[in-house]
């Protein structure tokens, strides 16, 4: 395994690459910062590489691990990057967004917003600039209905600009930044309970796309990517923490039931990949949930 960290770091600095990706945080490294960083890297280059710690984590240490939605839950982009390495998905064919249905339910809108974010990643994989722009517009329109702050609306312009320039890498970061900004805005307006629904929506759509592809192109390597019991457990736990009023809504009831049903499907022993039958079951559950989120849930 070769990462070539030092070479990359030096090249990064010598090129004066002050990070386009700082757009995600709004921070830009100044030329003064660049000189300062040169000092740091100069020292770093002389340090020998260190090796990973050898000791094993204790049960207590594992139990104390923090789970944070913004970092612990992977983006659809990470999922798709792994799929690209193990198969050759035809993203253009896969990209088939459905315009969000009109609904007065804020829960459903939050879930739809998550679906759209994942659709944005699919459009990026398909390198479909117009598709990304359309999804970006849908995200912003839905965000407006959820009364998110003005700062989120500016993200729509950034998405459009990056799509115009075919800057796919920046688009991946911008999509996640947009999603995070929507969530932050939800927290600010005391809509905390909607935040997890955005995350769940994005995860469901990503998993639906992946499982549908793997169902048709099964290999153990691809099926191994669907082994995500920790994520399902976490999402189930978060759904159970929603207020009773929300949990009793048909869509949330269906969501919880389906997540609970797929937990044993994605939980395999000894890191084994999902079986072809398990992939079919997962794909069916995810497609059914996407349908319910898009058009509304049937009463259970």
């Amino acid at each position: 395994m070769r990462f070539g960290f030092r070479e990359n770091f030096a090249l990064h600095l010598l090129e004066g690459n002050t990070r386009r990706s700082f757009s995600a945080s709004g921070q830009v490294l100044s030329s003064r910062g660049f000189h300062w960083l040169c000092g740091v890297v100069g020292l770093a280059l002389l340090l020998p590489g260190l090796h990973a710690a050898e000791e094993t984590l204790s049960k207590e240490e594992i139990a104390s691990a923090v789970i944070t939605q913004d970092v612990t839950i992977p983006t659809p982009g990470e999922f798709f990057a792994a799929m690209d390495k193990k198969g050759q998905p035809n993203w253009t064919q896969i990209f088939a967004p459905r315009p969000p249905a009109a609904t007065a339910s804020r829960d459903q809108m939050a879930l739809m917003l998550g679906l759209l974010v994942a659709d944005g990643y699919i459009a990026v994989e398909a390198q479909d600039g117009q598709g990304v722009k359309n999804v970006g517009k849908d995200i912003i329109n839905l965000a407006k209905k959820l009364n998110v702050s003005q700062s989120v609306l500016g993200r729509g312009n950034s998405i459009s600009d990056f799509a115009e320039n075919n800057d796919w890498s920046a688009l991946r970061e911008e999509l996640e930044a947009t999603q995070n900004e929507v969530k932050l805005s939800m927290v600010e307006q005391k809509d905390n309970d909607l935040v997890i629904l955005v995350t769940i929506g994005a995860w469901i759509r990503g998993t639906q796309v992946a499982s549908a592809f793997i169902e048709k192109n099964y290999t153990p390597e691809l099926a191994g990517l669907l082994r995500q019991p920790a994520i399902v457990e976490y999402l189930l736990g978060e759904v159970d923490r929603l207020p009773e009023k929300m949990r009793s809504q048909p869509l949330i009831l269906e969501l919880r039931a389906k997540l609970a049903a797929i937990l044993p499907v994605v939980e395999t022993k000894k890191r084994a990949p999902l079986t072809p039958e398990a992939v079919v079951e997962l794909s069916s559950a995810m497609s059914s949930l996407v349908e319910s989120i898009t058009v509304g849930s049937k009463e259970l």
Binding site: F3, N8, A10, H12, L13, N17, R19, R20, S21, F22, A24, S25, Q27, L29, R32, G33, H35, W36, C38, G39, V40, V41, G42, A44, L45, L47, G49, L50, H51, A52, A53, E55, T56, L57, E61, I62, S64, V66, I67, T68, D70, V71, T72, G77, E78, A81, A82, K85, K86, S169, E173, E176, N180, E221, L225, L226, R227, Q228, P229, I231
Partner: protein
């Protein structure tokens, strides 16, 4: 290559002595992003999400992440406390260390791994030497 590195080192030392960035414009997150930005040349995408907090000497903290088999990851952490030497380690779901590459330079550190199986992993952060420090961790993947 050696000449270029030596020159970079010399220029770097002089620059570090003469020009320090104004403290108010630097945050732990921007410092962590600076470090993670080094991997962008190699095609790594940086996650917008981050994990921040305060690390105390002798009290490591752990973060659960979910990685995908075959993806390559760098976990970059930074602090603004120059006397805090940070370290990062990656462990699989059983708590066994994952071998990879580790970078450490005072108040910044990074660990790079390739996930060999999809699922749960743990990141361990600690102050290896020095003082209590606020930190921020970001990660990048390809």
């Amino acid at each position: 290559m050696k000449t270029a590195l030596a020159l970079l080192f010399t220029v770097g030392i002089l620059s570090a002595q003469e020009v320090a960035p104004p403290a108010e414009t630097v945050t732990t997150r921007s410092r962590a992003l600076e470090l993670a930005g080094a991997f962008a040349n190699d095609g790594y995408k940086i996650r917008d999400g981050f994990w921040s907090g305060t690390l105390e000497p002798g009290k490591p903290q752990f973060l659960q992440v979910n990685l995908f088999a075959g993806n390559e990851y760098w976990f970059s952490v930074a602090s603004l406390v120059p006397t805090a030497k940070l370290s990062v380690g990656v462990f699989d779901e059983s708590g066994l260390p994952v071998q990879g590459e580790v970078f450490q330079d005072g108040a910044t550190a990074a660990a790079g791994v390739i996930a060999d199986a999809s699922g749960k992993y743990f990141i361990r952060l600690e102050v290896a030497e020095g003082d209590k420090a606020e930190f921020c961790l970001v990660y990048s993947y390809k």
